[in-house]
Amino acid sequence: MFEAAVEALGLILQIDRLGWMLLGCSVGLVVGLLPGLGGTVGMSILLPFVFGMDAYSGVALLIGMAAVIHTGDTFPSVLIGVPGSSGSQATIVDGYPLARQGKAATALSAAFIVSMAGGVFGAVVLFATLSVAQPLVLALGSPELFMLAIFGLSMVGVLSLGSPLAGLISGLLGLAIGTIGGAPGVPVYRYTFDLIYLFDGIPLPVLALGLFAVPEMLDLLAQRGQIAHGAKLTGSRLEGIREALRHKWLVLRSAALGSALGIVPGIGGSVIDWIAYGVTKQTVRDRENFGRGDIRGVIGPESANNAKEGGALVPTLIFGIPGSGTTAMLLGGLVLLGIEPGPAMVREHLSVTLSIVWSLALANIFGAAACIACAGLVARASIVPASRLVPFLFIIITVAAYQSTRHWGDIVALLVLGVLGWIMKQAAWPRAPMLIGFVLSLVTERYLHLSMSRYGLEWLAFPSVLAILAMIVIALVLGLAPDLRRRRARARAASEAQS
């Protein structure tokens, strides 16, 4: 295996293949940079070009693009508080407050370094598990997938920032919005009001842009300010790199979590992102600053979202099961290149498989280096006056939102959800739980439905289900106990002051 790996490295390091990989990286970074566009858009741009390419060059081009989407998407998440893609939602919770404090360069460079580390870790996991992952993937059925979705939902409580009840209701509102459109498994359309646009539900990019981008823009304009509160940038790239190194164990932990969850098909990048954020918050000390600009809130999810790409390639390559839209299109690309992913992939196309591993690792390094080089310059956008920046951003997000379904409903929904998000922000209702509820709505309903129809209530006693349930309980106790302790101490101090 190791000789084959060295041989594959030699093949991928040929100058023309490196060129294709760099082209893929550039497309991936641009697509990630534009809010609302994700890996599927990048794949659809590149797919026509792989016709007639040799397998190694085609793989370098496609993997180069897919690997760095979650590196480039950090720019909008940190600078304007808008998820660059569905897999970078959690980054905004702490990344944007850091930009508001003038520390955009610190947040960005820390994110890029840990993205690179996570991506390389994902590639190592892909290499290590190619031959042993088969039984693990086969062991996970709908009950386990349902419980993993519940694990994601449990993060709602963690992200409620001092308003647990409002956070819980916000999560339920997200779940309710997620039920709009066709019901899974039955030909019933729910809450559509006979509007064709709503038959497929509200698209995730439109919801994310509406909930987070429009309210921030309105507030920036109303305050007549800029993203960074003072007109001074205090953070630096070096500081970000130092922060990443200081939290190396967190980087490693999050990367391991991201790649392990990435192996499970059907969970999705956004769920993994939120789980990584929640686990980060629950497993570190001094977490009072989370949600208000804690660099660890950027490091955890950013490390996990790049690492999950390596994990996600395991079921894609060894079973031909795509875990996301991007990997589904990658499968198409591999078929175009004359490679049929499946159980025989490792045996019959070992060098191509290993070139995928190398492309993943190298693309992450190139992507992070390019982003770090630009971080200082792009961070200056945070001190541009809002009245000059916002009109450009609004045009970009309008165009980006329209690409979701290419229906006028996208733009109308963007405005309506923008107003909803603004009201929630003013009323101090947490918005992140709504996004989590929405993202997990379909997955939760689908796997609950499958579990109930196949096992009745028996699945509730499965050891694997109980193990995940125990993890959820532990995570909730670890996450909520300090908050409760702090509230109790505050109440005690208030009553003492009164007496």
Binding site: V31, M217, R388
Partner: protein
């Protein structure tokens, strides 16, 4: 009661009504399509009712105790706390900028994306950012060029308009 208190209470009431509507509507769905929206609505309605009750109760009792809106003041960032006059002014300013955005969308529907974007950006930069005409013209040209290049490279689509542009 401040503007924000009213906003928070009003929003909680709207959410309560939404869950009530969603629950009633869910009763008409077939059995398999019903359980998720129904359970979510019932849970949402119950918790929203509890929140409305707590909001009203805390607003009555919290005055003078250093708490506001049912949330302890220290839970909120300093930037979120404004005097009633400031809050009213912020609401008006936000509504004004929201009108700019709605106007842009209406223009897209009338004259198409490129023309509407050029008009919106040009007018906004001149009126709101007080940029000089030359800088504004250059910004508009750069935006249009970027839009065209991205549209071409990424096969983006533009919304349809009455003018057909």
């Amino acid at each position: 009661m401040t503007v924000r208190d009213r906003l928070r209470l009003g929003f909680s009431l709207v959410v309560l009504c939404l869950f009530a509507y969603a629950g009633l509507e869910a009763l008409d769905f077939s059995r398999r399509a019903r359980y998720m929206p129904l359970y979510v609505s019932v849970a949402g309605f119950t918790l929203s009712a509890l929140l409305v009750f707590l909001e009203c109760w805390r607003m009555r009792t919290a005055a003078g105790r250093g708490t506001r809106r049912g949330v302890a003041i220290e839970d909120l960032a300093a930037e979120d706390l404004f005097s009633p006059e400031e809050e009213r002014h912020r609401l008006k300013t936000t509504a004004y900028y929201l009108l700019w955005m709605v106007g842009y969308v209406a223009m897209i529907a009338l004259v198409g994306l490129p023309v509407a974007s050029a008009l919106f950006l040009g007018a906004f930069l001149l009126v709101e950012a007080r940029m000089r005409p030359l800088a504004t013209a250059l910004s508009v040209a750069a935006m249009l060029a970027g839009l065209l290049v991205l549209t071409h490279l990424m096969h983006l689509r533009w919304p349809s308009s009455l003018a057909g542009w």
